[in-house]
């Protein structure tokens, strides 16, 4: 059994009451909750999940309800998200898998880290076009005509390394949106963003800009 499947099963069995889960084949597990239909989740150790990989998993596991990127740093490309959601499947990290099991809606579950912030910005009326390039990167076009590439930074208190690593992984952004409402970016993070040519913002500041 692959390492990520073993950890996922352990996590489900230890933390979710009345849920039974077992390994089926390869990276797939079956999840059973009393009173609900059996569900299939595929636990991937990929660093990046693109549309090609999502299609491959779907082809291999045709009854897949949820695709889980178990690696903490797993990156989801926008096209993979569109493919999975378009085919009525859930996607996301281990937290999203647990939430989906608990709510009885694995097919509707999405990556927990970015769920609320993505929903929030999707509802801003001044945004005329929104393209989700990655799970945490969106490109928007405002009614004013301005284009912005925004990165969603989930860390509680973003550090200089978080900002630099984000830039290295996803390319230039205009705004590093610190989506965790509780913490604040460090002074070194703000300085790193300045050096790179972007700004770190909390929602209040970003909302005014939009």
């Amino acid at each position: 059994m692959k390492w990520q499947v073993r950890y996922a099963l352990q996590n489900i069995l230890e933390n979710l009451k009345e849920v039974s889960a077992c390994h089926i084949d390869g990276e797939a597990i079956a999840i059973e909750v009393p009173g609900q239909a059996k569900a299939i989740a595929v636990i991937s150790a990929a660093d990046v999940i693109n549309s090609e990989l999502a299609r491959q998993y779907h082809l291999e596991y045709q009854d897949m309800d949820f695709l889980c990127g178990y690696r903490k740093g797993c990156i989801w490309e926008g096209e993979a998200i569109k493919y999975l959601e378009g085919n009525g499947m859930g996607w996301g990290n281990a937290g999203a898998l647990s939430s989906g099991i608990s709510s009885g809606n694995l097919r509707g579950a999405t990556h927990k880290d970015f769920l609320f912030s993505y929903r929030l910005i999707s509802q801003v009326r001044s945004i005329k076009n929104l393209d989700r390039e990655f799970d945490r990167v969106i490109r928007i076009k405002l009614a004013s005509g301005a284009d912005l590439r925004i990165g969603m930074i989930m860390e509680y208190e973003p550090t200089a390394d978080v900002i630099r690593t984000f830039w290295d992984n996803f390319g230039p952004i205009d705004i590093a949106w610190n989506i965790n409402p509780n913490g604040y970016p460090t002074q070194n993070a703000i300085a790193a963003a300045d050096e790179l040519g972007c700004r770190v913002m909390k929602w209040g500041e970003l909302r005014k800009l939009l």
């Binding site: 950890y7 903490k72 208190e157 390394d161």
Partner: protein, 117 residues
């Protein structure tokens, strides 16, 4: 490597496998200390630049088959965020040491570490 490791085993494994960690202070924090949660939260404190690139690259390699969530901080960022007062952090070296005792009590370990900080 055992694919199913406890917090203490992970600490020992990282210290043995990642030589660059010796240039940094390293801790584990969060729910993984108590055997819950889906990953191991690791805090690495030290310089930026080449040493940071080195330790990141090494940890990425040795942690390929572990659910690690690693936070890298500069020493001044730890002070600015008051990280130690917000999160219970145990040095990896202490965790590895406790692994060698017959019965591990993380609660006692936390008390022991916090009394020395």
């Amino acid at each position: 490597m055992n694919p199913y490791m406890t917090a203490c085993e992970v600490a020992e494994y990282l210290l043995i496998s990642c030589r660059s960690l010796r240039e940094f202070q390293s801790y584990m924090f969060g729910s993984s200390l108590f055997g819950v949660g889906s990953d191991f939260d690791i805090l690495v404190i030290g310089p930026s630049g080449e040493p940071l690139s080195r330790v990141k690259s090494e940890l990425e390699m040795v942690g390929r088959e572990l659910p690690l969530d690693i936070l890298y901080m500069l020493p001044e960022e730890v002070i600015e965020t008051k990280f130690f007062s917000k999160a219970k952090c145990i040095p990896l070296a202490e965790l590895a040491k406790y692994m060698k005792t017959e019965s591990l009590d993380i609660g006692m370990c936390l008390l022991s570490i916090s009394s020395t900080n």
